[in-house]
Symmetry: C2
Subunit: 206 residues, 2 copies
């Protein structure tokens, strides 16, 4: 199978549902990223979206370290990736590390929603990126402790995901057959009756 | 100050930024909810949005218990709320409890992104609700252990937030002066230079 980037983009779209924000169905996570720079103006917009997420006590525990290809932060984030991710992320113009303050500023108590709220903000970021014609891919596969050390992240911040941000590349550019196969698989999700319940284990009638 | 629901809605909007999804700037969390039912069709759409969030290993750890005013799940969720939240949530047509499976299905390993991914899915839910003209308000202020017991939630699911979903009510309907004051406060967020860094503590140029 040799599909182009735009054919894959079509293939990945979730079936549209009337009234649901199109960008939610259109957002997906490629591995092939084009070697095309992302402007500061675009970065401004994706973080503006993240900034307005809701958070427990409006703590806004989220922080982001942004590396742009060619700078030392990009390199340091890249160096923490597991080999499988290094293989495809090397063309990414932007690597972002998400972090969350683990205690509340107003009273020092533990914030058990720190990562939850970071997940919310980062998901707005990915949606806004999709809105602007970019793609994102979040990864858990990296060495957290190495990231903390080389990027001098204070102990009071929990480490979230690494977010690859850029423009979609051609699937064939991935080279590797396994990566190409995954790139052109349709997205799958559990049906609603497996995740939305009226009582535990009983599908809600929606 | 006596502002109407629609005046408050305007007041809560974040300053628009060209190219940023309007719904991100328009979503906010009221406390006054109208006593107006939410249809099954609308619920279907907000959960459809949640369903398409990204997750680590595509685990989709999110589960939702949905209570509709008058049913026993609504009552059980309501009963777990702290008094402050009970005061304003009593008119809410829908109360949702978000849950996250804490271990991966494919290998049983701990999923440290369980709550992070639940945060992502729930934030899509809140955005889609805003798109449909509804409002949401997430709360951490409830008795988790009571929720687990009365709603018979298995131990392998972590408890997230309670999400109030419904249509915005009139601020004056809150009755309480403190609640009304909060209801009409503009939303505030940290500026980008406090949350987006090129190196730790150094604002990114975006």
């Amino acid at each position: 199978m040799s599909l182009t980037a735009s054919e894959v983009h079509e293939l990945k779209k979730a079936p549209p549902v009337e009234g649901v924000l199109p960008v939610i169905h259109e957002r997906w996570s490629p591995r092939s990223f084009a070697e095309r720079e992302v402007s500061a103006k675009v970065l401004h917009k994706v973080f503006e979206a993240a900034r307005w997420a809701a958070s427990s006590y409006n703590e806004q525990p989220w922080r982001y370290l942004v590396g742009r290809r060619g700078d030392s932060t990009w390199q340091k984030i890249y160096d923490t990736l597991i080999d499988f991710n290094k293989k495809w992320a090397q063309t990414a113009p932007v690597l972002i590390l998400g972090l969350a303050r683990t205690h509340f500023s107003h009273n020092g108590a533990e914030n058990r929603f720190a990562l939850y709220d970071l997940g919310a903000a980062s998901s707005y970021l990915t949606l806004e990126a999709a809105e602007l014609g970019l793609k994102t891919h979040q990864m858990a596969g990296f060495d957290q402790e190495a990231a903390r050390r080389t990027l001098t992240i204070p102990g009071e911040y929990a480490i979230g995901s690494v977010i690859v941000l850029g423009y979609q590349g051609e699937p064939a550019a991935l080279g590797d057959a396994v990566l190409i196969e995954r790139e052109i698989e349709p997205r799958k999700r559990k049906p609603l009756d497996e995740i939305v319940f009226s009582e535990w284990g009983k599908a809600a009638e929606i």
